[in-house]
């Protein structure tokens, strides 16, 4: 056995509460990671995964401190190293890919400058080679057009692009060990598949060790040799991915698995009941006792120890035999499909085109037209009342852009949006009728960015209620409480500030705010991707219930195809801002017709599946779509010929309501 590269020895970390008690966040963690090994860390948010990963770098968030134990990296005690030694290791031999890459890039520095900084600090290369190396790194993480990317500021990239920049930055120092905190949450499945391949490749070739924190059990199953399940700051289960994902021996792991949506199962996942104990809340018994379906009297009295069982797993439970009895697939009924027809249409988009290109002011003065290829083009579709349309596509394909245009937040280049079949919707939200504004609501991926940190929940919810319904006094309060109850939060949340709530709670407040306006359409941009699986399951159930009660239509953008499968009636597939395929979710998932959709669906990772994804012909994404012909032409694995480069592909029908845009003859579908 090789000596461990990273070793946690009985590590406990905690903070001192206001009443002077020492509250543990990590409890007696012992874990060793060998060179070249990849260990997955899973668990709900708040279970201490990120704290553990950061502790490996000798770093603790403000307020936290080591209570007992040690962390060593390459035989060095990380918590007793001096500043300059830490600086040499961090970002060099030991690198981190942070959870929130959008916020982890310095807003005032260009991407190129941030990457060069990493090279300057840790690379042995000659400074003259930095520019070439920078481009290389960006190409490695499959960023399109690296020359253009380095000149951009972080906010000029899409979420997935920012994430890949963070990955490139971590690889700059050629690390011996990599800590990945949700590295692929913002990525679509195809990009994720490539990135995971890249990382596994480097790990194999250079013996790089990885600690992989993720909610995405599919990805974990793919890259990890060992999985550690954490609950309330403790390791509760440790084993191989096969052991843990096929038939977990710990009740918590079984619940966690059931809350993950599956592409193979078009139903809403079930949320684990209750919530994990807050630091210091866990009593003397098993921390999971309050939520455990098979809790025994002994569980509340005695804390189970982590012990090895026959299969080679390590387990913290008094009665693992009983865990086998917990049924793992009690999914709810599938959603009914709303039929789209023009008389019930709420949105009708025709030939919508949107361009981010900035004509320079000089040209504008001369009145020259904007001739650039638009980011999004030729989007024609309808959304019926009460229908949920899933919008999928890789990172940077323009999903958020379309939502922004519908919400009137980004100008469109051409095309029209008809609202409620009759009203023509103004491009700019400021020019829309108040009633139109009320009926179209938007919920963002990151509640931190959309909720004002200085406003209480009451102030946040009161805004739309005052504005649209003129409520005040008792009526206002009653309605706010009603809304909070709808999203499963109570009246006692009214006085909270966003900083006093968890991510899932904040997202539910954002949803409550959207529903306060009693909208007809809610535009959801990756609303669950910042949440962990059990909270995600709860939010999905909530969205599903609200649409049943209120007949609200959704446009649901997500890169998680399983989530889209669980919620959407119809799906639209987007590539480079062009529609490729649209149809009922069941049809598209069962029988994808467009070459790109086929690639996309084959790249899905499920914990049980070992199949290798089909990939695009050309490896690197492009930054701007081709001027004419098919959007996929440069990377299509099934390209027909020259016609793909010159003619816009025609729409072909597979079955009624299911069509795709391609030059490929329809009958050759597999």
């Amino acid at each position: 056995m090789e000596p461990a590269l990273i070793r946690f020895d009985d590590l406990s970390v905690g903070f001192t509460s206001r009443d002077g008690r020492l509250l543990p966040v990590l409890r007696h963690i012992s874990l060793a990671i060998a060179p070249g090994e990849t260990v997955g860390l899973v668990g709900e948010s708040g279970s201490g995964k990120s704290t553990l990963a950061l502790a490996a770098m000798g770093y603790l968030k403000r307020g936290l401190k080591v209570i007992s134990g040690t962390v060593t990296f390459a035989e060095q005690h990380m918590f007793s190293l001096g500043g300059s030694e830490l600086e040499r290791i961090r970002g060099g031999k030991l690198a981190l890919i942070p959870q929130n890459s959008g916020q982890s890039l310095t807003p005032t520095l260009r991407i190129g400058a941030q990457l060069t900084e990493a090279l300057r600090l840790h690379s042995k290369l000659d400074p003259a080679q930095f520019p070439a190396r920078t481009l290389d790194l960006l190409r490695q993480v499959r960023l399109p057009d690296p020359e253009a990317i380095i000149a951009r500021f972080p906010h000029e990239l899409s979420g997935g692009q920012q994430q890949r920049v963070a990955i490139a930055m971590a690889l700059a120092g050629e690390p011996k060990a990599l800590l990945l905190d949700e590295p692929t949450t913002g990525l679509d499945v195809t990009t994720q598949a490539h990135i995971l391949d890249l990382l596994s490749d480097i790990a194999q070739k250079s013996g790089m060790a990885m600690v992989y924190v993720s909610h995405d059990l599919g990805a974990i199953a793919r890259v990890c040799q060992r999985v550690v399940v954490m609950y309330a700051g403790e390791i509760v289960l440790e084993g191989t991915p096969a052991q843990i994902f096929k038939n977990p021996t710990h009740p918590y792991a079984r619940g966690l698995l059931a809350s993950i949506p599956r592409v193979s199962n078009a139903r809403l996942p079930v949320a684990l009941e209750g919530r994990p104990p807050a630091p210091g809340e866990a009593g003397q018994g098993c921390a999971f006792a309050d939520r455990c379906p098979i809790v025994q009297p002994v569980c509340r009295l005695e804390r189970p120890e982590l012990r090895a069982i026959a299969s080679g797993e390590w387990l913290r439970c008094h009665v693992p035999e009983l865990a086998q009895g917990i049924v793992m697939e009690p999914m709810t009924a599938p959603a009914p499909v709303a039929e789209a027809s023009s008389d019930t249409a709420i949105f009708t988009l025709s030939e919508l085109a949107i361009s981010y290109h900035q004509a320079n002011w000089f040209r504008q003065l001369l009145g020259q037209a904007d001739k650039s290829t638009p980011t999004v083009k030729d989007i024609s579709l309808t959304l019926a009342r009460g229908e949920t349309l899933g919008l999928v596509g890789e990172s940077g394909s323009g999903k958020s852009t379309i939502l922004k245009a519908l919400a009137g937040l980004t100008p469109r280049q051409s095309g029209t949006i008809a609202f409620d079949a009759t009203e023509d919707l103004a491009a700019n939200v400021d020019h829309r009728q108040p009633d139109q504004r009320r009926r179209i609501q938007l919920v963002f991926q990151n509640p931190d960015e959309s909720l004002n940190p200085r406003q209480t929940v009451a102030e946040i919810l009161a805004q739309p209620l005052r504005l649209y319904f003129g409520l005040s006094g008792q009526a206002l309060r009653a309605r706010m409480v009603e809304l909070l109850i709808q999203v499963r939060l109570g009246a006692h949340y009214l006085d909270r500030l966003p900083s006093q709530m968890s991510g899932g709670e904040k997202q539910r407040v954002a949803i409550a705010r959207a529903f306060a306006a009693e909208p007809d359409v809610v535009l959801c941009d990756e609303v669950t991707s910042a949440l962990d699986v059990s909270v995600q399951a709860a939010v999905l159930t909530l969205l599903d219930r609200l649409r049943r009660e209120r007949n609200t239509a959704y446009i649901f953008v997500s890169h998680d195809l399983a989530v889209v499968r669980a919620l959407a009636d119809r799906v639209a597939v987007l590539y480079q801002g062009r529609l490729c395929e649209i149809g009922r979710a069941s049809d598209v998932y069962a029988n994808p017709a467009h070459p790109y959709t086929q690639v996309l669906l084959s790249a899905i990772l499920e914990p049980e599946l070992a199949a290798r994804p089909k990939l695009m012909a050309a490896d690197v994404q492009e930054l701007s779509p081709p001027a004419k012909g098919c959007a996929c032409q440069r990377r299509c694995p099934l390209k027909v010929g020259m016609i793909c480069e010159t003619e816009t592909p025609p729409w072909q029908t597979v079955t009624p309501g299911h069509s795709f845009a391609c030059h490929k003859p329809n009958n050759s579908m597999g």
Binding site: L54, M57, Y59, K61, R62, G83, S84, L86, E87, R88, I89, R90, G91, G92, A95, L96, P98, N100, Q103, S104, L105, T106, P107, T108, L109, E117, A118, L121, H122, F153, H155, E156, A166, M169, G173, Q358, W361, Q364, T410, P411
Partner: protein
Amino acid sequence: MVRLILRRLGLGLITVALVTGIIFVAIEMLPGDACVAYLERDAVGQRLENCREQLGLNRPAIQRYGLWVGAAIRGDLGVSASGGKDIATLVGDRFRNTLLLALCAIVAGVPLSLFLGVVTALNRDKSADLVVSSIAILAMTIPEFVTATVLIFVFSIWLEWVPGIVMTSAGAPVAAFFPEIVLPTAALTLVMAAHILRTVRSSVIEVMASDYVQMATLKGVPYWQIIFRHVLPNALLPAINVVALTIAWLLGGVVVIEKVFNYPGLGRLMIDAISDRDIPVVQAIALILATVYVAVNLGADVLTLLLNPRLRTLQMRGTR
């Protein structure tokens, strides 16, 4: 970008026009006029008529406003009602003095407060921070005249280091104001530094807690490089506007300080002119104040725009 700046400039000009217009109307609505005020009890009959004739007060209001604006653009601010002096020189001297005092306060105060703001933030909750922050809060809450009086008492009367009040006349050359200007500068610096310091401190603390600073730390960037490359460019952006407001406040002439130190600045002139109901002078000062205010804020906006890439993209998209 250029279009945006031009647009802001246009808006600024409109603001200035509106302000002078409003002041003009407000003064019109006050009972009496410059001549009534000037002549006091003699303001009857022929003398009043003559005076009004002389100052052009018996023409319609609109016409007077037009004439006044036209002249002001040419740099002619008219003659004061009391004493018939040329307003351009009268106000000009005072404005120069205010400018001088403001400049001294800015040169002393802005770097000092930026520096202290950063230092207190980086030493948050340590003794240096506690001491400086408490002094800042004290300086903010104590009325200016108290600060000024204490300064005079300590440095002029007790220690006898510098003169306590300004004896130099308004029109004297700049050099004549030293060292009399030291104490008013110190008083202003104290008050404004407190404001800037607190903004900078909280902004630096906020940025230090951000994800990108944590990332920079975990990338192995040395501490001082983090401060200069990652923290300050982001943390000082919000300070620009506060500094601008402070500068505008200084340039307007801080009446209390000018009164206490007997400093011949714009603020005092304004108060005197108002109590004398010397309307041409009041108007001229209002024009200058509005212009200064608009210009300083415009400068701050443009600077923020140039330095904040995020805003830059947003704004450009917004004005398309």
